[in-house]
Amino acid sequence: LTHECRKLEETFLHAYVDGEFSPEESGEVKAHLAECPMCAHAVRLHQSYKAAMLRANATAPHPFYDDVREGLLHEADPGRWARAFQRPSAIAVAAACAGAALWFLAGGLSHPIFSTHSLIEDGVALHARALPLDYPSSDPRSAQQWLEGKLDFGVHLPRFAQGARLQGVRLSNVNQRQAAVVTYSLPQGDGRRVSLLIVDDPEPHLPGAARRIADREVWLSRARGFNVASWRNDEIVYSLISDLDEKDVLALVQSAEMR
């Protein structure tokens, strides 16, 4: 790898394989990969590494995470950094490094990861990736109870009339805020998946076109092929994300009972 490509590997290729880029950004990386066999090789290596990690994870005992975390806590000496920073030279070096890092991040490259994502884009990304659930449950009441105390805001899990079945809940973050992603499956289309993103977003304007549905102001928008319908209930924003047609999304929203 050339020096430039090494930098690229560190900052971009891992992020590319890790799925951190938007389609346009991925397109730029792909264009480079097409003409740089070195980077293309690095990407293949990283992909096979990630796949191997997931395979290993499928068979590894789960308390393993806790053991590692414990080990790290014991290994890290909390006084180490404090002592290091008592030496003036260390402070100067640290300051220089921090300065260099700041320059690199601010001017050296306009990093796509630092661009602000809207609520919708983050929500769609969460929906598209279908991450494992923290609390799998088909019972809305127990899911609601599980969520209470996990979030710093109150939620009401809506009930949908159209036979949407609750699958479970996952905790997440959107725009640096706590969020819950509630997953449902629909009877139509072989259990099609619908995500309900719940986040305490103080931004007064929700994205999209406003409609009045069942006494609620609902905003409709599209992102990456998904339809998103957002509404507010007790200050909290609820966004229904799916690949359903707009008509079906509206019917689902209409049937939502917020109690």
Partner: protein, 77 residues
């Protein structure tokens, strides 16, 4: 590495969990992965999973990367 590769959190989520900037997540993740790969290679050679030419080739890649890293570090210092 656990958060990213096993639990499949996004960089942003990891930054939240560890309470550090996304840039820090990226650089630590990069270093952690390289370190893990180096240790796994050593383990694979020591336990006989990898032998002969294959081990030498992979070892050479790791060593070359380390050499570049050392050069890089000297250049910056």
């Amino acid at each position: 590495v656990i958060l990213a590769d096993l639990q499949e959190f996004s960089y942003k989520e990891i930054a939240e969990i560890l309470d550090c900037p996304v840039g820090t997540v990226m650089s630590r993740l990069y270093r952690g992965r390289k370190l893990l790969q180096k240790n796994l290679l050593e383990y694979a050679v020591a336990s006989g999973v990898l032998q002969g030419k294959q081990a030498l080739e992979l070892g050479a890649v790791v060593e070359e990367e380390e050499a570049v890293e050392v050069l890089e570090f000297k250049r910056r210092a």
